[in-house]
């Protein structure tokens, strides 16, 4: 579906400029009023689903607790579509307004629900999505998260995905081993910006922006909704 004309609150020009420059945006408290209902719906959806388990050999996912080495991440896809308690988010004017402001004409491209028992190494969300097409992801984290407890970390500027900076990092951060061999650093030591969040906040990210999370407790809950710009982006540098 296309987003159409937003009727809810939307972004300021400054927020759009921030997103276009740094590749992400935090919107504190935008869903604070509904977060209890959203969290209950998340739990109900997970309970009624058969989550897919992330492949234990996936290089981006690393359990800090060996007890979770074979149980890195549970995923439910699709997540909000068809769910009585969550599907309304797809057409919520706050989200459609954000998407309209950032992408213009766009189409909803699906959602996923997650429980993380691991670090997630830096990556761009470009699977099944050509880089020349612009996509945004809206993140709903359901725990209080900080740098030490698994908050999302972004590397600003990597949204300019063809730039030398982004290309170098796409290559050198492609796995924990590459990161160690290139920089001598663990992923949590890579220069990045941490985005602390509380339930009710949302984060909006450009698919191209490199991001990861480190140090979180097992069971961290996240669900995301994704939109894609209809026209390919010719101005990505």
């Amino acid at each position: 579906m296309t987003t159409g004309i937003a009727t809810g609150p939307t972004l300021t020009e400054a927020q759009v400029e921030f997103f276009n420059t740094f590749g992400y945006l935090v919107l504190p408290g935008w869903f604070a009023a509904e977060i209890d209902d959203i969290t209950r719906a998340f739990e109900a959806k997970f309970a009624a689903s058969e989550p897919v388990l992330m492949d234990a050999a996936n290089p981006y996912h690393v359990a800090t607790d060996p007890a979770y080495a074979e149980h890195l991440r549970e995923i439910v896809v699709p997540f909000v579509e068809g769910d009585d308690g969550l599907e309304w988010l797809v057409t919520d004017p706050r989200l459609t307004g954000v998407v309209e402001a950032l992408l213009g004409d766009a189409e909803f491209r699906g959602s996923d629900g997650n429980r993380f028992n691991c670090d997630v190494h830096y990556h761009a969300d470009v699977y099944l999505s050509p880089l020349r097409t612009r996509n945004v992801k809206v993140y709903f984290y359901l725990e209080d998260l900080t740098a030490e407890t698994g908050a999302l970390r972004m590397i600003p500027g990597t949204n300019f995905h063809l730039s030398p900076f982004a290309r170098a990092l796409q290559r050198d951060l492609q796995s924990p081993d590459h990161t160690e061999s290139t920089f001598g650093l663990h992923g949590r030591e890579v220069p990045a910006v941490t985005l602390p969040t509380q339930p009710g906040d949302i984060v909006v990210g450009d698919f191209r922006t490199l991001h990861g999370s480190f140090g979180g407790a097992p069971g961290r809950r996240l669900f995301t909704l994704n939109w894609r710009k209809i026209e390919p982006d010719a101005a990505a540098e």
Binding site: F18, T21, P156, S163, G184, P191, A192, V193
Partner: protein, 263 residues
């Protein structure tokens, strides 16, 4: 220690535009601290005093005291400039042909908004700076903050930030956040650490206390004549860095300041 940077540190510098070198001058830091204070006291006692008081927009109209050419004013700091550790590292980054590009000392009782150290230093010529902070500094006490990747100065990301962050008073209008909340990475430091960075990397410092002390020593690559002519043409064609896009605050710095001297 004259071994220079590791391959990891070179990669960090080349990619992100800076690298911290913890404890590189730990053995000498007490003497360097004393030398810094002596140099400032001696310059302040001259008639007229040679310590510049600066309160420009860049420092949000708060006070920064600057002592240019500090390495020429005290033998202990002068010796750092020729130290094999710096010489080796400068050669690794800049190649065989490089030269010293000045030194300065600063006492900050101010914030420093975002800038690259490119005033009077063309972007196309590579400059590096070794910064010695003499106080223990963290994110809430005035440690330098870097915007990684802006050393890749011709990217849209870097160009957008140089333009948008140029006027501290306009940052909140442009991005909806105060200058201290612009996405960046804090580089904490302890006395004896050295921070090596590229002049092109956009940086600043916020939430610092009074009397944060820093001295820096810079080096630059030596361009051959053809490179210099090409650079002049490039600057002219882009109407860039010595004109409207210069980092020189309104009113300018003292003509004695011939190279970058940011936080």
């Amino acid at each position: 220690m004259t071994t220079g940077l590791t391959a990891h540190q070179v990669a960090h510098f080349d990619t992100f535009g800076y690298v911290a070198l913890p404890g590189l001058f730990l053995d000498e830091i007490t003497n360097l601290d004393t030398a810094f204070e002596e140099a400032f006291a001696a310059a302040a006692a001259l008639d007229p005093p040679e310590v510049l008081e600066f309160e420009g927009d860049l420092h949000l109209n708060q006070t920064r005291r600057i002592l240019m050419s500090i390495a020429d004013r005290h033998p202990a700091i002068g010796a750092v400039r020729a130290d094999p550790r710096l010489q080796t590292i400068a050669g690794q980054i800049l190649g065989d042909r490089f030269e010293e590009a000045g030194s300065d000392g600063s006492i900050f009782s101010c914030e420093s908004s975002w800038h690259a150290d490119t005033f009077h230093a063309p972007l196309r010529q590579r400059h590096i700076k070794f910064s010695f902070y003499l106080d223990s500094l963290g994110g809430e006490s005035g440690a330098i903050r870097m915007i990684p990747g802006t050393n890749h100065h011709q990217t849209r990301f870097a160009r957008t930030l140089r333009r948008t962050l140029r006027d501290p008073a306009e940052i909140e209008t442009a991005f909806g956040v105060d200058p201290g909340s612009v996405p960046s990475v804090v580089v904490p430091s302890e006395p004896g650490d050295v921070i090596l960075w590229d002049y092109r990397t956009i940086h600043g410092s916020f939430r610092g206390g009074d009397r944060r002390r820093l001295f820096s020593i810079s080096f630059r690559e030596i361009l051959d004549e053809a490179d210099e002519q090409s650079g002049a043409n490039e600057l002219s064609a882009s109407s860039g860095w010595l004109g409207d896009n210069s980092d020189v605050p309104e009113g300018g710095l003292s003509q004695a300041i011939t190279h970058g001297s940011g936080s």
